[in-house]
Symmetry: C2
Subunit: 268 residues, 2 copies
């Protein structure tokens, strides 16, 4: 695997690469502690609708996981997102999604929108699997380390079917999404998930009604699952939930052996 760019800042190295899946090129990025060597836990982060693999909140979490936990974090552009579309298309998408999550236009899941989302998920699941295969080939990740998944909103719409079908993942954060009564495939996927789940939900979300959020939480087969409900809209998850996700992953993916972290981090 050849990296297209490699950039180190404040003790964290970010590498970009591409994978080919069904004739399409999927852009990927992986963060790890500077100088990292040997296996470590890996978190896959699925971005939200209209966002991309290096969206600021996602990048910030990836850097924090490298610095605080010694973890690696992998992200890819979802189908129809990021470097897979033009800048103009990305701007139009951001305006459309922004208006819906702010409640400015009806959040309604039209048949066309549902068809698009189902198609996007069908493409995304094998892309995530291929990206995980590639990441596990890197010596600073390794083939046998624990793997977690983080993804809210579209990251849950794609993540639930993906995690249901991916036994390497042993803990997942989902949220900002619900289960519509007619979403039989999503329901079946959620019922296949039995790993620990932390599910974050905004009580006044314009695009995910409370009853649907509760239905999705209920559908997970996990013995350990927690739903964190906060007031506010889709973009208003409180800061402290970010700290809770970090502790959730640390609890389930485990600490990184100091020797394996990186020379830089051992002195912090």
């Amino acid at each position: 695997m050849e990296f297209q760019d490699e950039r180190t800042e404040h003790g964290v190295t970010r590498r970009s690469f591409e994978i080919a899946v069904s004739g399409e090129t999927v852009p990927a990025v992986i963060w790890a502690p500077e100088g990292a060597n040997g296996p470590r836990p890996l978190v896959l982060m699925g971005h939200g609708g209209s966002q991309h693999k290096k969206t600021p909140t996602l990048s910030a979490r990836a850097r924090a996981y490298a610095r605080h936990l010694g973890y690696a974090t992998l992200a890819i552009d979802a189908p129809g997102h990021g470097d897979r579309i033009s800048r103009e298309q990305a701007e139009a998408l951001a305006q459309d999604v922004g208006a819906r999550v702010r409640g400015e236009v009806a959040a309604g899941w039209t048949p066309e929108r549902l068809r698009q989302m189902a198609e996007r998920t069908r493409k995304a699941v094998p892309e995530w699997k291929a990206a995980l295969d590639a990441a596990q080939d890197f010596d600073f990740v390794g083939a046998n380390g624990p793997v977690g998944y983080w993804g809210v909103s579209m990251g849950t719409a794609i993540g639930v079917p993906f995690v249901a079908d991916e036994p390497r993942i042993t803990a997942a954060v989902f949220g900002l999404a619900g289960l519509r009564p007619d979403a039989t495939e999503m329901a079946a996927a959620a019922r296949k998930i039995s790993i620990p789940v932390e599910f974050v939900f905004q009580w006044d979300d314009a695009v995910a009604p409370r009853a649907h959020g509760i239905a999705l939480f209920d559908a997970f087969a996990s013995k350990e699952k927690t739903m964190h409900v906060n007031p506010g809209g889709h973009m208003e998850i409180p800061q402290f939930e970010g700290e809770a996700w970090e502790r959730f992953f640390l609890r389930h993916l485990g600490p990184v052996d100091a020797a394996a972290r990186s020379p830089q981090l051992q002195t912090v």
Copy 2:
């Protein structure tokens, strides 16, 4: 104030004392780091139905708060509980409450039970205020430090009206309780609460239906409030929620100045 006993174990000192409220003697206990001097945050812990001020889970949290955070923790026996009843009465109460929370007998709030709970709350609120007054006289607590409240189940039934009426309290953990549609006093109290609240709720609780739990969470006026929902019954709050409570209090009541903690703890 004279202490009836004082006992130090593993760096934590527990002192027992009594306060007089409306002609009744209320037994109280306070934990603090060994050798603690100077003001520090104080957490008031309200025990559950049939439990008492030194019930094992409560004592364990109090010791942990002293050791991890340098905090003081205050607990009192609720009316009709602990040292305020005979051992035989306590055993009968534990059997009754135990059967209800395990779902072995109907959890129904009969008019008589509701009357008893309302009476208990009316007595408990001034007792908590008097206990807090007494604790703030101790040099290792001080009159101006931040004060939190922790109480689930009966600790919420009493705690919500108490916290609504006590401006010294700036953060509260509630849970394992709900708002019945006819509970107008409880609803009014909850709507008066605007401090940060963490609300823990068990999804399969035999004594608190989901809709009532959500109604109580919704009633709090707090801008920052989080509901943590977990599967399982009344007695099955997962261990990790205990860690979340500690971080919640640390976030809102703040750290203890190292110099004020205690000579013992500074070396830990």
